[in-house]
Symmetry: none
Subunit: 216 residues, 4 copies
């Protein structure tokens, strides 16, 4: 009885998985409902029992991903007070979810603009919540004056992390834990950290803006 009532949810989950894979591989607009029908074995019109439109399907995927990511972060942060550890947890949570759901995350990164109206608003809202949580974790760690613009800082971090679907291969590259540790160190201490003579040599270079010889 109980199992039977789960049938619907199970099938929906199957559909979401297949769709996310399809959307990631071919892009949202290039992937057709027919592709999903073929992949899931459910007939074209049968699919429409589970969602009302293709856009809702995209929404369901994005909503589920962001919600999970966000809730995971909340759960982890709830048990940790130390700012450094909180930062570390945030990065690792983010990267781990991305690595484990690479296809879905590519969809998240690419296809936000494909949503419209209320769908877009709802995803944007949770995305904003997530971003704010991350920002506050970062700010709790910030030096009084790092000399770095706040938006540049947070979005550079996101850029580092979100870009991985473009190059990261689990079987070839370092494990997620090291990936997280490396990125944390890069972001917090920099590429040259630990190098002795760095302090003055580099510092001096950044003290004066470089001459912009560059034309557009």
């Amino acid at each position: 009885m109980t199992e039977l009532r789960h049938t619907r949810d199970d099938k929906l989950a199957l559909i979401l998985r297949a769709s996310a894979t399809m959307f990631a591989d071919k892009g949202y607009h290039e992937a057709s409902i027919r592709d999903i029908s073929r992949e899931t074995g459910i007939s074209l019109s049968g699919l429409y029992y589970y969602f009302r439109s293709k856009e809702e399907l995209l929404f369901l995927i994005q909503d589920h991903c962001f919600t999970t990511l966000y809730e995971n972060l909340g759960r982890l942060l709830a048990e940790e007070n130390d700012p450094y550890q909180r930062f570390l947890l945030m990065v690792e949570n983010h990267l781990r979810y991305f690595v484990n759901n690479m296809k879905e995350m590519k969809v998240l990164s690419h296809e936000l603009d494909s949503l419209t109206g209320e769908f877009r608003q709802r995803v944007n809202q949770i995305k904003r919540q997530y971003t704010e949580t991350c920002s506050s974790v970062l700010e709790a760690l910030a030096p009084e004056d790092s000399g770095i613009d706040a938006r540049v800082a947070i979005y550079s971090l996101f850029g580092m992390m979100n870009w991985i679907y473009n190059w990261y291969h689990p079987e070839r590259d370092v494990a997620v834990e090291e990936l997280a540790a490396d990125m944390c160190q890069l972001f917090l201490r920099g590429y040259l950290s630990g190098v002795a003579e760095r302090s003055e040599a580099v510092a001096e270079r950044f003290s004066t803006p470089s001459p912009s010889i560059w034309r557009t």
Copy 2:
């Protein structure tokens, strides 16, 4: 006279601009040739005088962008020997071109997979050349052992830089020169650099891998 003879190239340039904007706004597959026709004022079939297929159009854009980016970098590096300055030039060149050609660069980032066959190979080749040049600039600067995986380092840098089309607004955010300076500092010295007590406190945290409490 001479100007008149440039008509054809000018129109092609106009088409490429409009197409890049279209592709960036709606995505390559969502943007229709009819959209480009409407935007440029050239008839649908008239456009095909300038390119043989939509895919070639995408190729022309990507090829032009990457080539320009790559050649600009070569020109800048040719006059500079100091590793730090070379790094700075590389980052500034990259960011400046991205900021000045945001639409095109979004297309570059998103639509590489949309090319097939020889088009793809040719763009991939120049992309590889550009990446290698950047990598060598970075390596010339590298500490003996930063403890950070080489691929993680270079792609984190690219991630930081390439992500900007997702958040950077020229009129609202810092100028390109500062953007470049900030990212250089972030990447080279880290977010916490300059903070006195950082050395030991942070270092210790990275010495032992964080406990991975996280399940998939």
Copy 3:
């Protein structure tokens, strides 16, 4: 009930008929799917439920025609041993089917080259089988030495028969039975057969090749 379940096949048959007529009247390439849509009353896209491409549509027609023609011949020959009767049956079968399906046969004659790849191979294969069966019927009848090249003989016969779509009008010309009888006599006994003095007069003429006064 049963009839209702045949709906799909019936519609396909309707489409094939209409398409064959269209292809015959305007030629394969000149006939548009829109024409077929108009003719059948089925929407343009609705047609694609029944075939995957225009080329497949042509294939379906050609395959059906050749297969029917070939199977009919097999059925007729199975019950007849006498070489003359077998020849007669072959000719009558061929002509009757052509006359009854003139449009389709014109398509068969004209549009073999319009097929490509596997479609072409499959039609060519059955065409070859049919030709071979006809050839063997002819050879079983052949005099030891008619003095006529084998290929010239069989293809002259086919030429006579296949050409009829260019001139034959059922309502104006002789009935199929006579058409078949006439062509059989023409082919087997010749136009002058029965004429008394023919034997020597004509024979002599063919004994020496005519002087070729003709320039290219």
Copy 4:
């Protein structure tokens, strides 16, 4: 001077040749003016100096072919009075021209319907003249009563001859002279001529119409 004035005609001849080849290979409608432009090396718009429309181009080819064929026949028949020789000349003239201009003749056979209006009328007129001349040659030879319908006879002959573009390969098959001789014998004396016992055995079979067991 004189040579210069021939330039136009020479180029037109080049265009007609190339077009006929194109039309024969791909069919009239499938061959594009662009194909002809590519083949001749003359620019797309440049071609329109030599003809007013694609249809006129087809007309020029058909008209030239039929006229040449017809005039050649007239020249040959003018010097020959013997009915048998006249028949032979007619067949050989027809076949030789077909073999030497296979591409053009395929166009003639296939694309008569592609002409409309006056173009069609003019080609049809000369075609009718040619057919009538051939018919009269045949009738001059006819037995009082061959028992064969006149239309069946003449069109069977044409069928035999016109079909050759479907199977005849100059390098593989018999020479044109033998081709002509074979077809003449076939048509006049039949496939079984010379076979002694034929007379009664076969004749009897044709005296009674074959039982038409065949349903549509």
